[in-house]
Structures are given as C-alpha cells and as structure tokens.
Amino acid sequence: MNIIFFLLVLVLFWQGFYWIGVDIFRWWKPYAVPSPAGVAERFITLLKSGTLIEAVVNSLVRGITGYFIAVIIGIIIGLLISHFNYLQKNLKPIVLGVQTLPSVCWVPFSILWFGLSANAILFVIIMGSAFSIAISVDNAIKNIQPIYIKAALTMGANKKQMYTNVIFPASLPELVSGLKQGWSFAWRALMAGEVMTTSTGLGQTLIMGRDLADINQVMLVMVVIVVVGIIIDKFIFSVVENRILKKRGLA
C-alpha cells in the first residue's frame, strides 16, 4: 500500500511539473514532455482500439517462446560445461565472453539471417539470454556443498542418481535465480529486437510513437514494458524463489 501512495505522489508531482513548465511558463514544448494526463489518454485510446493488448500479447508470446528455447539451450550448454572438464576449460571462457555482448549487437546479424521477421527477434532473445543461463547453471552446480556429493557417493549414488537426487535439488535455489536473471535478459533482448524489426509488439508500438512524434505514447509503452517486467518477476519468479528458500529455511 505504501508504494501505491508513493507512486501516486510521484505522478502528482510529475503532473505539477508539466503544468508549471509547459502550461504556465512555456519553458518546454508540449510535444517534448510527456504528462500523466497525456499518457492516460493514450492508454485509454490504445486500450479501446485493442492495439495495446495486441502488442502486449504479441510481445509476451514471442518473449516467452524465445525464453523457453533459451532456457533449454542454456541448460544444455551449462550442464555440458559443468560436466566435462575440457569444455569447462575451453568453452566456458567463450560463453562468458559472448554473454557480455549487449543483446542489441545481435540485431544486425539476425536481420541478415532472418530478415525483418519474427524469427529474427527470437534469435536475438535466444542469443541475449541463453549464455547467461548457461553460466548460471554452471555456477549453481559449482556452488553445491561438496558434503552433499560425498554423502550421496557413500550411499551408493551413481552418476544419473547424483544428478536427479542431489545436483538438481541442491542447485535449485541458485538455478531459479539464474533463470530469473535470464528472463530479464530475454525481456530486454526482446525489446531490442522488436524496436529494430517490424513485427507488431510493444517495441513496434514504441517506435510508432516516435514516428508520430507522440511522446505520450512513447512514455506509455515504456511504462507498460516496466510493468509487465515487474509483474512477471514478482508474481512468477520471486514466488517460486521464495517458496524454495522458505522450504529450506533460507528465507
């Protein structure tokens, strides 16, 4: 509740500044400054026309699809890196390096390969998050307390049993936070991809706002991107994370 009050005050201040700076003193041009009222007006218009919902749904579907593929690829690479010493030594540094590339760097490459299509965006999402997921998987496994492994070994666990009964559950808390971070990378990569290509979605709506010189629409889309990101983080990842930690007495 506190935060809602805080946000309300923030919006009031924002409207106040707009009123003083644009309406009264005319320091700034109206098309250069978004206002809460203007954003709300765009919100209602785009909601009524269905554009906004369509954009959110399109982006989410695309983002989630890309993310799932990235999770699968990331987990596979992560497991390989953690399991084989050779790959740990030789492949991991490369993965680590590639992971530092901002996802927008993949856009030109992606467009050359896939054109201005939805696949181009998927590619950017996957490249933007799979490697970070791979690294978190490797780290999560590395940080398992050795005593768990030793205990299971002296109870006769074979390799497969070790993975399913010890390594997976032991690394789960870190794995989930790695997946959560992977999602935030995927979401950013999605926007980078959408802004550069022409498929309908939040990124495209944002660019449309720019083309129409409609700063309120630009602001609106940015707010929506933040809100969707927060909702997924708080209502999916953080919930799962907290449940796991609580069960183990870590939260």
């Binding site: 768990y148 002296t154 109870m155 559950p169 789960l172 069960k247 183990r248 007495g249 870590l250």
Partner: protein
C-alpha cells in the same frame, strides 16, 4: 574379516612427508574400532581412503575380500557435519540411501521408521532439517547411516561439533545401538575418552610417523561408565600415549 587395510600409505602432493605410512589394520565383522590421534595426524585421511573418496598412494583396502576402488554403499560415512539434504524432511533424508539402492517404498518407510525410533526421532519425522537441533540432525544422520545396513559404518568425529552434553548423550545412545545391532564400525575421534567409551579396540595414530603407534584392546564390560576406575586408568594410559607421540 569385514575390513582389511594393507600397507596403506598416503602422500599428498604438496606436503613434505607422507600423511599416512604403512597402515595395517584388520577389523572383524561386528567389531567397533576407534581411531584416536591428535588433530592433523591423518585420521580423516584414513577414513576418506576407506570410504573410497580418495585414492591411496600405496597399499590396499579390502571389504569382505573385495578391493576398494571408489565410494560405495557398503561403506556409508557419517560426517562431522551432518551432510543431510536441506530440501528433504527428516524421514526423507533417512530414506535417501534406501531409495538410491532401489528398495520399495514400503520397505523404505518401514525401515526409516524403525531407525528413527531407534534414535528417538519418530515424532519429528516430517520436520524440515532446518527446524531441528544440531543433536537431532546428527541423530538423523545416524539413522540414515544405520538404515544403509552397510558392511562397515565409517564415522568421522560425528559428535564433535555438538556441545559436550549432547555429545555425551549421543555416544551413550550409540553404545546402546551398537549393543543391539552389532554393526561393524570404524569410528574416528580426537577424544580418548570417547574412544575408550565406544571401542572394542583403540588404534592410536602417530602424527610423527603417520603410522599406527599402538592398538589397545578395551576389555571393559558394556554399558561402560566413564567414572569407573578401570575406565579412568585406561583412559589415562592411552592419553599419555597419544600425547607422548605428539611431542
């Protein structure tokens, strides 16, 4: 012989001298053998070798005639730190080894309850690990180790992280449990009192040579009492040996 250790040596790469030197020891089925020695004399190293968690530089270890090449369920270890899995409840932890061994759910349940009762934890069976005390955790680990019914049970100072009172209580329980179950146990401790209290024999390791300094047979009737004259005398004698070797 349940366990035969033959000419066992361990020389860590980065250390000057061998930590363990020509260790020879035979443990009969149903025997309780304690290894005593000062800190750093190689007790845990010996246990890790028997457990198969590390490889000897020389020598071999036989369990029921089979050469040890790696860790296995025939040599379950109870560690100083409980090593319980925090994502499982008390009873699930006890069942872990049996599940790995592929026992049916019914058998797992029955045996887990049997051993939990033995360590007086039946009322806590569904508790998560983080909600039980340190002593209870070690009891859970004991139940888990017992439930494996391995040929040799290895224990590396399992009670030394606990407070004195809890530790004394647990060793008393372990004595009782051993009298009932007659498991073959190799028990490591830095406490001579604990060794004399629990063992059929006490093996004193020398930190200087890395070999066995002495093996003392403890012929005191069980249940033993730490204040009995016989007990106190033996304890002093062994303590002197352990200290004498340490200088």
């Amino acid at each position: 012989m349940a366990l035969i250790i033959k000419g066992l040596s361990k020389h860590f790469k980065n250390s000057e001298k061998a930590t363990l030197n020509e260790i020879n020891l035979e443990i009969k089925t149903g025997e309780f053998v304690c290894i005593a020695g000062t800190s750093g004399c190689g007790k845990s190293t010996l246990l890790n070798l028997v457990a198969g968690l590390d490889k000897p530089t020389e020598g071999e270890i036989l369990v029921d005639g089979n050469r040890v090449t790696g860790p296995g369920a025939d040599r379950t270890v109870m560690f100083q730190e409980h090593g319980l899995f925090p994502w499982l409840s008390v009873i699930e932890n006890v069942k872990f080894g049996m599940k790995i061994a592929g026992m049916s759910n019914d058998v797992q349940e029955k045996r887990a309850l049997y051993y939990l009762e033995m360590v007086h934890l039946q009322d806590y069976k569904d508790y998560p690990i983080h909600q039980i005390s340190g002593g209870m955790r070690q009891r859970t680990a004991l139940a888990r180790a017992l439930s494996m019914d391995s040929k040799v049970l290895l224990m590396d100072e399992p009670f030394s992280a606990l407070d004195k009172q809890t530790s004394n209580m647990l060793r008393e329980e372990l004595q009782k449990i051993w009298m009932e179950t007659k498991k073959t146990i190799l028990f490591i401790t830095h406490s001579v009192e604990e060794a004399v209290y629990l063992g059929d024999r006490v093996v004193v390791l020398s930190p200087v040579t890395g070999s066995i300094a002495d093996i003392i047979k403890i012929d005191i009737e069980r249940p033993r009492h730490v204040y009995a004259t016989e007990f106190v005398n033996l304890r002093h004698q062994i303590l002197a040996e352990v200290r004498g070797e340490a200088v």
